[in-house]
Amino acid sequence: MRRFCLLLLFISGLPALLAQENFTISGEITESNGQESVIGASVLAQGTRLGTASNVYGFYSLTLPRGRYTLVFSALGFKSVSREIDLENNMRLDMQLEEDTELLDEVVVSEDAEQLEINRPQMSVNALRSATIKNIPVVLGESDVLRSIVLLPGVSNGGEGASGFNVRGGAADQNLILLDEAIIFNSSHLFGFFSVFNPDAIKDLKLFKGGIPARYGGRVSSVLDIYQKEGNKNDFKINGGIGVVASRLLVEGPISKGKSSFLLGGRSSYAQLFLPLLDINNVASFYDLNTKISYKPNQNNSFYFSGYFGRDRFTVEDSFINYYGNAVFNFRWNHLFSDKLFSNLSLIYSDYDYGLELDFVGFEWDSGIENMNLKYDLKYYLSNNFQFNFGLNNIYYTFNPGRITPNREDSGIVDAQLVKKYANEFAVYADIEQEITKNLSLQYGLRWSHFTRFGQEEYAVYDNDHPVLFDPELGIYTEAEAAAIIASDRSETLRTFMNFEPRISATFHWNEQNAIKASYMHVAQYLHLLSNTNSPTPLDVWTPSGPYIEPQLSDQFAVGYFREFGNRTYSLETEAFYKTINNRIDYIDGANLIAKEYIERVILNGEARAYGLELLLRKNTGNFKGWLSYTLSRSEQRTPGRGTTLLNGSPVEEPGINNGEWYFTPWDKTHDLSLYGGYQLNRKWNFNANFLYQTGQPTNYPVGQFEFQGLSVPYYGLRNEARLPDYHRLDLSVTLNPDKNLTRKWQGEWVFSIYNVYNRRNAASINFRRNSDSGTNEAVRTAIFGIVPSVTYNFNF
């Protein structure tokens, strides 16, 4: 591995060594208002095609031959600034960009966080800015990160009210969700109606669907990289909103003007949220807190402390209490070793906690996952056409599958702890962005990951290493008994895995408007989310790879054609992808995963694959903005048997799950189309609309019915062969910015929205059951949201 890296360095370093008399200009790009760093702002030397973009901390570094230049700094939503420079030495130039408040003005930009980067090899990436997310009409008026990204091509979810999201046919546990570089394990509030990300506190997000750079690892399908605002370094600001579900408040301001700032954001739902919907006395609520302190003592160092704390709480009649949430604490240190070497050190603690109290049974339940994460990332701007990213990452995990305690004295429950699991994930990576010729750029890298599963209090071993048995007579899988239970110590190693994960992307652009890109990636994932439903629930258990569970391994190929036209007003992105995933776990029929001590007894090893075409046509500037997104895809999985077994002395093939045949994943949607448009009529009125059309998700219709002990039991054949009816809906919203705003400091706006305008009853599921009143069998459609009008008031001062 080391040799490989050195070799890469050597070969790629040559052109730079040959270059002569180059100097570096570097600095930070911030907003003039609050000195919030600007991500993805472009820096271009006018008259040349030399330029760069600021990184996620606003830092840029550009190396140019000695000479006179006019540098143009620009970003969408900001006024462009030009600066004459005489490049005789390495120099530092920090730039403040002023927000463009003239909404009707045509903003001409050459680079933007949401715009295409024709000349960069990175593909399969979508970016959204906080402002865009806030404009998209959503149910109950709560703007939401996850509800917004599912409008993008290649991204879907398990339906309304389903947690998580699916990228390019991948499962919801295959998304690496990072909030200020910290891993978030559960991204949903209220069972999936809202995501845990407060849109006010978010600056920028990027979703990598393929061609994931080597600096990311640990999840096979996607990376959702979200950055929180740093806080206003100049002025004290408050903004907030009052909606029908929740209210938000965000306070930010300087601690020491120009040097340090703080940000404190809170969001809370109203407790009686679901009361009107149901005839029972229940309370569902959530809240979250985002905090951040930024401190910049000098040009070469920045420190960030950020924290996130979110909780959901759900109670019924005091006899059922359920809470869950993430807590994240994060310390980061940006350090410039030189004007070409940028570094970021992150120390992250994160904890996901799930608890339950059932008074009528008499117990409390507590489970969770805790991790300590160290990341050190460096970026070396070797030359204008050669950038070198490298770093390491170490994560130590503690998994608590569950602890049960009696909640009152007369409870018969005995205090018990399911065996805790411990693991460590380590990775080093090197990643190079290189311009080979004027038209061809490459990004290539290698990640080496290593996973150790440590000893635990006890674990089971099985005859023939088979925790699952097959009964050939009855044709069913059953749980094996342990041959022995072995005690081990945390200092021991139960099993280790390691993987080399090569990543490569290339772009060939024959002019500034057209490019063809291609990428390949190999990614390993050592954690599995065990879920017996089609979309995650808060109760699902994250389980590390170990003696009986292999890491998921994915290969993905993607090619695409990218085009900008109409003076960069429009962009077109088309991509085709093919993805395979090995070691995708499947569950034996009747598996019960909850509070299961020996999970290996109910799972079998399978595989998954997905392929598709994506199209995204965007209009990026002007009064009318929007996009058309379309995906044609297929997502399948299968679990073949483990070979032959004997039945009455003759060999038979084990059938596996679903007879070992491929079946659609629950989130497979052949066609997935979304159309979003926003129209700024004038300063006062802004209109937004959203239309979705999707093939109905796979479902199951019974192949028959039998009666057993007075129950009517529908039974099923092969999995996911039927489909729900097609899903479609239209949402509208109008934002009113009153005239009064012009003459006062207080800025208020009203957002009126209608979700599902034509009130279509889109089926979330179809269930088959016997009506207990009439005694007849019926098919029952569950539709979650009909037409939902709402109003939200947002303010800032």
Partner: protein, 268 residues
Amino acid sequence: MKRLLLYFIITLAFSGCEDVIDVELEDPQPRLVVDALIRVNTELPSNRVSVRLAISSNFFEENTPVNDAEIRLSNLASDQQTTLNSDDNNGNYSAVVDTDILTDGVLELRVIYNGNLYTATNTFTPSTPINKLEQGDGELFGEDDIEIIIGYSDPGDQTNYYLIDYDQGEYFTQEDTFYQGQDFEFSYFHDSAKPGDTLEVFLMGANQELINYMDQVLTLSGEDGLTPFQTPVTAAKGNILGPENDFESYTLGYFAVVEAFSQTLVIE
């Protein structure tokens, strides 16, 4: 109790938005259904053993009873055999069998139908007496639900599973993992019971296979709650061996012999 956790989380939030729709289903391949969960009251010298046979149907139709089969129950250890006779025209067969025969040794059920032989074997699974059965005044899912508190003493020396029949087609499965050897009581919220009803509640012993089967049956029948997210559906394969040895032509139903303690409760 384990199932309970998931059940609550998902079901509660979504119930007001259901409607009945028309769905066309293909006609199924007919399969024999053997409903042979035999409940034994060990305090009696003999018990009436009942088995029902039927042919499975389309979901929206009734099963067709099978009245012309031969059914025999044998104790393979003592080699005692009993023939079950057809009681009615509704597929029910029964016979009175000595309790000793049912509780000791491997039992085999043989069904001959249409010239084909179907067999299943199982052994008696003991249970534990009901210490307490009373109505509570708590409510969880709504005012119409009736809280029923059941209490029993779990034997401490092994893993026990229980199947509780709350009458009117409501069942619940239990595993003693978290209350090994304890006096345990918990509440169940009965959906169908109305004031004035008399419920006969059975606390039955079970092994893990029967519990897994009942969990599938209860999930499929919607008795453990409808969820907006579908849990994987199954073919509900039981333990009845059919005449053919391939995985496609399985027989439906289950044969088990379990100890059952029962008490009645009048709902107020």
